[in-house]
Amino acid sequence: MSQDIRIKKGLDIKLKGEAEKVTEQALASNMYTIKPEDFHSIIPKLSIKIGAKVKAGEAVFYNKANENMKFPSPVSGEVVDIIRGEKRKILAIKISADKDQQFVDFGKKDPKAMKADEIKSHLLAAGCWPFIKQRPYDVIAKPSNTPKAIFISGYASAPLAADYNYVLAGKEKELQAAVTALSKLTSGSVHVSVGKNDNSPLAGLDNISLHKVSGPHPSGNVGTQIAKIDPVNKSEVVWTINPQDLVIIGELLLTGMFNAERIIALAGSSVATPKYYTTKIGATIASLVDGKLQGDNNRIISGNVLTGTAKSLKGSLGYYDNMVTVIPEGNDYEMFGWNLPVFNKISTSRALTFSWLFPNKKYDLNTNTNGEHRAFVVTGNYEEVFPLDIYPMQLLKACKYKDLDEMEQLGMYEVAPEDFALTEFVCVSKQPHQEIIRKGLDLMLKEIG
C-alpha cells in the first residue's frame, strides 16, 4: 500500500551556504556533553557521579518516571562535571573522552528472531529508546504503548538540511535491521517516505510502506506526512524516528555497540566552505566550526534555521541534530527597514518585497526579526504555508488562552512545534509560534497525559 504525498502549501527557504557533498573527519572533540533538556519532559536521575569512568553506551542518567529508560554516554571517558541550575536541575553532564574508545557490549541480536518485549527492553537498556518519539505531544515514546504506526521521514526539506541520500549511503544493513525491529513494535506499518526523485537507501528496505514525497517544505516534516498518510486521532499514538538514528539502532543490533557517530552537515552563509563532517553526538561546537567561519558576529545553530537551538562555541551538538547551521546575527538597526523596497530578504507577500520575482535566488538571511512583536492581526497568510487540515491561528490562540477542549478539537494531538516553524517564519506579528505550541503540548501532557 504505497501512497504518494504531494504538498502544495509551503515554502522553501533557499539559503546560501549549502553543504558540499564531501565528508571530512571533524577535529576530535575532547569533551562531550549530554544535556537533559534535549529530551523534552524527561526528569533525569543520575546513575553516575563526577569522576566516574564510563564506556560508550553506559547509562549516564535514567528517566525518573521509568527507570528502565537509560540515557547513554556517547563516548568512553571520565565524567568531569555535572552542571546544575536552579533547584539543582541538571543542565549538562560533561564527559572527557578517552583516547581509546571502549564500548559496552550489549550483545549481537537478530531482530527477525526477537519479540516486541525483547526489542523494547534491549533498546531501553542500551540507551537507544530516546531516539523514538511519539505523537501526540512530541516527546520520547512511552514504551508501554503500541503505536498504530511508525513514521520515518527520509526526505529533508528544511533549509540547508543534510541530504539523507548522501549521509545514509552504504548504511542499508543497519537501516534494515532497525526497521525490522521497529516493525514488531507497531500494530500497523512502518511508513518510510523518500523524495520523489531520490535514490534513497531507504527506498529498498523490506517491511516498510514506502511513500514518495514532493513539494515545498514542510513536505519533509514527519508531521506533514503523518497528516497525509494516517493522521493521529484522539487516544491514538504514532511513533517517529529520524533516519540517522535508525543507523545507530541498527548498529546496536548488528554489533552490540552503541556508536554515537554520525555524519553532520556544516552549512550556512557564515561557513567558509560548507561540507559534511563525521562526528559524534554531544561533541563540542568548537570542534566542528573552529577556523571554518567567516566574520565574528554569527549565530551557531545545532539543527536547521527553523527548528534548531542556538549554541555558543562551548556548546555541544544536540542529541537529535544532524547539522550545524551558522548564519550572521542581525543585531543592527536598519534605516526605514519597514517601508523601503526589500530585495535581500524572503517574504510571502509582495508588499514591496520582491522575493516572489526570484524564486530560485538564494538568500543570506540573518537573525533579525525584521519587526517587533505584535498581536495577531493579519489573517490568511499562515494557511499559505501550512499543509495540515488544521486552522493554525485558531489553534495558536487556543494554546494561548489554554482551552484544553478547544485545543483537542482543533487538532493539537497531530502537531509538534516544528510544524509551526513556517507559520512562525511568515508571521507579520512576530509571534513565537513554536514556543506557544510547545507550551500548549506540555499543558495537555500534564492535564490529560
Partner: protein
Amino acid sequence: MGLKENLHNIKEKGKGKKWLPAYSALHTFLYTPNETTHSGGHVRAADDLKRTMTMVVLALIPCLIFGMFNTGFQHFKAFGAPVEFLSMDAFWFGFLKILPLIIVSYVVGLGVEVLFAVIKGHEVEEGYFVTGMLVPLIVPVDIPLWMLAVAVIFGVVIGKEVFGGTGMNILNPALVIRAFLFFAYPTWMSGDKVWVEGATERAKEIAAGANLDAISGETILGSLAQGKEFAYTVSDMFFGYIPGSVGETSTFLILLAGIFLVATKIGSWRIMLSSVVGALVMGLIFNGVVNAGWIAEGSKFYSLMSTEFWHHLLIGGFAFGVVFMATDPVTASQTNKGKWIYGFLIGFISILIRVFNPAYPEGVMLAILLMNVFAPTIDHYVVQGNVKRRLKRLKVKTA
C-alpha cells in the same frame, strides 16, 4: 557618534521607564529595531505589521489627492465659478480644507494610542496608521474639527482600546468613528448641504436673510432616495467627479487601490470579490422586482430599486468600504471560507440598507459594522466544520 548610535543610547536609558513606548514608536519609525530571534526559528520573513499597514496607507494616497482636487472642483462649481478639475485652484482649495482633517485625525488618534501604550506599558501598535488616514476620507469635508476630534477619541477608546488594542477589536475603528459622527451629529453627516464645501455656510446666510442662491450639493444616493433625477453620467460616477465624502468618490482609483492590495497580498481578494458579487445579486433582485411590476412607480423605494444593478457599485461609499474597510483583517472573518460568506453578506446587506432606508441611503458602513459583529460567529461555524471532520475521522475508524 551617528544618529543610529545616539538613538540606541536613548533607548538603553529608557529601559523600564514609562516613556519608552512613546519613544520607541518614533525610534522604530526611523529604524527597524536591532531585535534578534530568541525562540523557535532563527530567521524571519521580511514583513512586519508596519510594512503591512504602510501598504494600505500607500493605496489610500491617490484617493486622498483626488479628494483634494474634487473638493475644490465641487466647491467652485456649486458657487458658480467652475474651474478645471485638474487645476491648482481646485487642488489648493481642497488641500487647505483637508489637511486640517488629516492633522486632527492623526494627532488625536495617535495621542490616545500613545497614552494607552504608556499607561499599559506596551508598544504603540500600528493599527491607527490606517485608521488615521481612513477617517478624513470618509467624512464630509465641512465637518467641524472638534466633532472629528471627539469622534476619533470615542472611536479609538470604545472601538479599540477597551477590547485590548490593535488586533483585539470587534468593530472597525474607522467605521465606529464615522458611525458616532453619523448618529451624534446627523445634520453634519447627511442631507444635501454637507457634501460641498461652503454649502452649509451659505444656507445659514440665506436663513439669516441674505439674498443668495441656495446651493444644493446632494450625493447621487441622496437624490435617488428622494426620487429625484441627477445630472451625472456613468463616467462621472466611475471617475468620481461627484459630491460625496472626501476620498470615496472615485471608483476608478479605488479599483486601482484594490488591485494593488490584492497584488501585494495585503487585502483579501476573497472579501472584495464576494462583496461585489453580493451587491450585484441584491441589485439584480431589486431590478427583478421592478421588472416584474411588483412595486408601484410612486413608491418611495422605486427610484433606488430601479437603479441599474451595476450602478450600485459606482455610487456611494460602496467601493471604498469594500476595498478598505471590509478587508480589515482584525474585524473581518479570519478563515478563508468565512471570508467568502462575510464578504457576500456585506455586499448583499449594503444594497438592502441602501434601498430600504431612505433616511440614510448609504448602507455600506452599517453593513460592515453588522458583519463585523457576525464575523466571529461565521468563523465559529467554519471552524466547527473542521472539528466535525476530525471527529468523523475518529468515528469511521472505531465503527
